[in-house]
Each structure stands twice: as structure tokens, then as C-alpha cells.
């Protein structure tokens, strides 16, 4: 299956890393965050990269998933899995209700509307103190267990998050490579032509918006059970922007690009800690240089670079053989 070679490669790398570097902070701690970010970036990329609908409020759905699960388990004693399902249901409902009015908008206006949505949800999390704990956050969230196997160590979370990430990448690859995926890319290319091909563009946009929100919500639920403590800071406007940056940095309309962008943007700040006070400045400079020299995104750019290099080498080999 040529279609899924990349996914297989990703799975193998994820599988061997903990054995190469046992008990490594960068694998089982930063790694889990990176995998979580990859899930979010892949979901946002479906909406933004493929369907061309920008969202500056993706953290809102991440937050709804996290807080629903956190509140139901800590305050009402729900089983974590039931709480996650409730979070998904609530996210589905909210995203469906807001999608109709919001997705009528295009370009900058859509960006503003989604930005507004993100800020409103964040304000609710901060202000709804009785339920959400307000700015102080919410603690004591139980961890998950799967078939009696408690996910209670860093390494176990690494496996759980890795499996989730691979699953989400698989879903995204499947969708893009189908009738529905082509419809999304088509409405990105030309909405009027997509309509003329019989695509109900309103329904297609709603579908991908809700799907992206559901994936973000699932990521949020896993995040809250992994962290056992959450506060509104994790679901702010700035995190939405970070997610957009991951998608753009990796390369729009490339699922592996989104994964790549998420990994880079998670690991880079960790590695730059050695520069202390200059950390943020160097981070910004690196991002700028990447976008100047690889504007189509890091992953997509490097990929086409490698392909060009290979074909040149092949051409050169043919040339020598001809002599």
C-alpha cells in the first residue's frame, strides 16, 4: 500500500524511539505534548489547509473537550470515557450551531469570526468559576484506563497519544483521498466551480468544521486526563495562533506537513532554552527564516527539494551512461 507508506514509517519511528532513548524527557514528556499538538494540527489542517477555511479559534474546541471531561469527572464523578463522549457530543453540537453563520464568511471576516468564538469560549472558562474553577484552573482529574490498564506513567501516555496521533493521521489521509476530500480541496480552489460540479459547499464546509472540532475535542479530553490539572491559559487565543503556525510552518494541505510543523514548534523552544534570555528572539528569527526560504512550508518545501535533487541525479546518471 503505497498510499500509507508515510504512516507506516511514522509508526515505526514512534515505536522504536522509547527503546532507543529509555526514560528520556524529550521522548516521554515533550514527546507526548508534541504528539498532542500533531493531532490538533492535523485536524486544523483539514479545515484550513485542505478546505481553505481559516480558523483562529481552534483552541476553543480543544477547551470544550478538556473542560467537559474535567468537570464531569471531578464534580459529578462520571466515568472518564463517558465524560469524553459527552465532551464530543457537546463539541459536535456547538460546532454545528456556529458553523452555519460563521462559514458564510470568507477570508479576513472568517478569521475575525473564529477569533471571536475562541475568545468567547475562553472568557466562559475564566468566568464560570463555580463550574470551571476560573483562572485558578481545575485539578484532581483522574487518569484514563483502557481495559483495566491504567494510563498512569509518562511512557504509557506516550503510547496512548502516539496511537491516537496515528489514528487521526490515518483518518485524515483517508478523507483527503476520497470523494469528500476532493470536494473540500475543490471548494478551496473555486467555490463556484465546486458548486457547479454538484458539491453542496455549505454542507461540505460544515462537515469538515465539525469533524475538525471533534478531533480537537478528543485531543482536549486526553490532554486533561493526562495533565490531571487544566487552566484556561492552555486554551487561549495564543494557542489557536500557535496551531495555525504549526500548519503553515509544516506546509498547508499536507497531513505529514502538519505533523512535522507540530513537532518542530514543540521541540524548538525546548532546545532553545540553552540561550536563556535570547530564547524567544532566536525562536522568532528561525521561524522567519523558514518562511522566507521555504514559503510553501517546511515539510512540503523539503519534500519538493528532495524530489528535484533525486530527478537531477537520475538525469545526471543517464547523461554519464550516454557518454
Amino acid at each position: 500500500m503505497k498510499r500509507l507508506t508515510g504512516l507506516l514509517l511514522l509508526a515505526v519511528i514512534l515505536l522504536i524511539l522509547p527503546f532507543l532513548f529509555p526514560d528520556n524527557y524529550y521522548v516521554t514528556v515533550v514527546g507526548v505534548t508534541a504528539l498532542l499538538h500533531a493531532v490538533l494540527a492535523v485536524s486544523l489542517n483539514l479545515l484550513m489547509g485542505y478546505a481553505g477555511q481559516i480558523s483562529l479559534g481552534h483552541a476553543a474546541f480543544f477547551g470544550i473537550g478538556a473542560y467537559t471531561s474535567a468537570i464531569l469527572t471531578t464534580r459529578y464523578g462520571w466515568d472518564p470515557w463517558a465524560a469524553i463522549m459527552a465532551g464530543l457530543a457537546l463539541t459536535g453540537l456547538v460546532s454545528f450551531l456556529v458553523s452555519r453563520p460563521i462559514l458564510r464568511l470568507k477570508g479576513h471576516y472568517l478569521a475575525m469570526a473564529t477569533l471571536g468564538l475562541g475568545i468567547i469560549i475562553n472568557i466562559i472558562l475564566v468566568q464560570g468559576e463555580q463550574l470551571t474553577g476560573g483562572p485558578d484552573g481545575l485539578g484532581g482529574i483522574p487518569t484514563l484506563s483502557l481495559f483495566g490498564w491504567a494510563i498512569d506513567t509518562d511512557l504509557r501516555w506516550y503510547w496512548a497519544m502516539g496511537a491516537t496521533m496515528l489514528g487521526v493521521v490515518w483518518l485524515a489521509l483517508n478523507i483527503i483521498d476520497s470523494r469528500s476530500g476532493r470536494a473540500l480541496r475543490a471548494l478551496h480552489g473555486s467555490e463556484v466551480a465546486a458548486e457547479m460540479m454538484g458539491i453542496n459547499t455549505t454542507a461540505a464546509k460544515t462537515g469538515v468544521f465539525v469533524l475538525a472540532a471533534l478531533i480537537a475535542s478528543l485531543a482536549g479530553a486526553l490532554f486533561c486526563h493526562q495533565q490531571s490539572f487544566i487552566s484556561p491559559d492552555s486554551f487561549s487565543f495564543f494557542f489557536s495562533i500557535e496551531l495555525v503556525t504549526m500548519v503553515v510552518l509544516g506546509g498547508m494541505a499536507s497531513t505529514y506537513g502538519a505533523v512535522f510543523g507540530a513537532l518542530i514548534l514543540t521541540f524548538l523552544p525546548e532546545l532553545l532554552v540553552v540561550f536563556e534570555d535570547f530564547e524567544v528572539m532566536i525562536f522568532g528569527a528561525i521561524l522567519m527564516l523558514m518562511m522566507i526560504f521555504l514559503p510553501q512550508g517546511l515539510f512540503v518545501g523539503l519534500q519538493s527539494f528532495a524530489l528535484r535533487w533525486l530527478s537531477r541525479r537520475r538525469a545526471a546518471a543517464l547523461h554519464t551512461a550516454g557518454d
Binding site: N174, S178, G189, S190, G198, V208
Partner: protein
């Protein structure tokens, strides 16, 4: 029985009347052309026929039962009307094959859910779509571009690619908005043959075109628009000898260049 019946169609934009009380019938199986000077309302007419604009008044009936007015473009497409655009509306972010496979949207059924889980029927549907797209590409002599990105192709090829995409919909009526605009003589000749081929395969063609040579050679009937209303209608020979048409285009004062 006419395939398309347009009656008393009127559309104005902020006081400027683009189409005024226009009526005509397109019989099935013909190449039916609409000509007229720039601003005569041809593209406005196409946009109403395809559901992009809603007319102020009048009716559009397709195949007797399908009422076009009030439907969204994707619903009009489902009735069996497809179109190409005057200014290219390609999906430049997709490959040639994918562009045409989008045209198979209405001939396939699977949704987001079964796609996400890659159920077995997806594979079958993908194979069918690919085959249909290849057929449509072959009709337009585009086989050799199949693996390329749409964004990398020259203009003349893109013009034909739009037609291939519209054919993949398997329409009963194909609206073509200036398919020969910007083409050189060789490409125009090829376009003429293509339009004829499409018509012979049983698809009625409604053509808007400025190249009079092409229109007169390829059309079975011609409708002449002037200021949004009907000036004349008939066979190409009748139109070429119609005094009002000659006057409008060439007479007394030359109002527009052809």
C-alpha cells in the same frame, strides 16, 4: 419538446437592466449559440441558468419538470446542467485527474464518515471515478496531461480541462462560456471539433462565444442578444442575413468591435 425553456426572464443590477423579458427555447441535441456584443447580458444569462443569480422575474424550465429558479447551483447541477466559465475556474490546487474526478461527485455517493474509515465501497467508488475521469479526459484529448498539476498547464489546455470536468458530470445540457476566448487558430479548430463531438454524443450544448467564425460553423441555431433582449433567432444562415443583426453589429454607427 424543448430541453430548456426560458420565459420572460428579467434581471437588473441596481437599476441597470442586464436581461429584459427574454424568452427562448433550446431543443434537445443541438448546439445552440447565444451571441451579442459585450454587455449584452450573455454571462448574466448563464449565471441565472446555472443558479448563481436569481432572476427578478421569469421562469427557466429544464426537461419539463425541473424548475431552475430558486435552486442552488449544486441542485441545478443535479438536474443535469453543467457549465464552463469565461474566466477559468480550475481547481489549481489539484492534479488534472483530481480536477476531473471532482466532476464525478454527483455520480458517486459516499460521505465523510465512510471515507474516514476507508470502507470497502470507497475503493470501488474511487476506481469508478478514476475510470470516468479518464474517459472524459480522453474525449478532450487530454490523456497525456493526466498526472500533471492543473497549475502547471498552459491556457489552451486548461480551457479543455474545464470542459472535461464538466463532461464528467454527465450533463444533459452543457453551458459553455466563451470556450475559444484566448485560443489560437489551431486550438480554435480543435475546440470546434470538440464541441461537435460533445453534441454528437447526445449532450445539448448552449454556447456563448465571440468568435463569429466558430459560432457560424458549429451552431445549429443562434440567438442574438442586444441590451439584454432578443434581437433575432434562427439558423446561422438566417442570422448572417438578418438586417437587424447586421445593423446592430455593423450598421450606421459601429457601436462595438467584434
Amino acid at each position: 419538446m424543448a430541453l430548456l425553456e426560458v420565459e420572460a426572464l428579467t434581471k437588473s443590477f441596481g437599476g441597470v437592466t442586464a436581461i429584459a423579458d427574454l424568452g427562448f427555447e433550446v431543443p434537445e441535441g443541438l448546439v445552440y449559440s447565444v451571441i451579442g456584443p459585450n454587455g449584452a447580458g450573455k454571462t448574466t444569462l448563464f449565471n441565472m441558468l446555472s443558479g448563481i443569480y436569481r432572476p427578478d422575474e421569469g421562469s427557466i424550465r429544464f426537461m419539463d419538470q425541473g424548475v431552475v429558479v430558486g435552486r442552488q447551483p449544486h441542485q441545478v447541477a443535479a438536474l443535469g446542467i453543467s457549465r464552463t466559465f469565461q474566466n477559468l475556474q480550475m481547481f489549481f490546487n489539484m492534479s488534472v485527474l483530481d480536477n476531473v474526478m471532482v466532476g464525478c461527485h454527483l455520480r458517486t455517493r459516499t460521505g465523510l464518515f465512510s471515507a474516514a474509515l476507508r470502507l470497502p465501497r470507497i475503493k470501488r467508488e474511487e476506481m469508478l471515478s478514476r475510470q470516468w475521469a479518464q474517459e472524459a479526459l480522453a474525449i478532450c484529448n487530454l490523456d497525456k496531461f493526466i498526472g500533471q498539476e492543473a497549475g502547471s498547464l498552459p491556457y489552451g489546455v486548461l480551457k479543455r480541462l474545464e470542459i472535461a470536468r464538466a463532461l464528467a458530470v454527465q450533463p444533459r445540457l452543457l453551458l459553455m462560456d466563451e470556450p475559444a476566448a484566448g485560443l489560437n487558430d489551431t486550438e480554435t479548430l480543435e475546440m470546434r471539433k470538440l464541441i461537435r463531438r460533445i453534441c454528437d454524443s447526445g449532450i445539448t450544448v448552449l454556447l456563448v462565444e465571440h468568435n463569429m467564425g466558430l459560432v457560424m460553423q458549429v451552431s445549429d441555431r443562434v440567438l442574438v442578444l442586444d441590451y439584454g433582449s432578443r434581437l433575432a433567432e434562427g439558423t446561422p444562415v438566417e442570422i448572417q442575413n438578418d438586417r437587424r443583426v447586421i445593423e446592430a453589429y455593423l450598421g450606421g454607427e459601429v457601436r462595438y468591435a467584434l
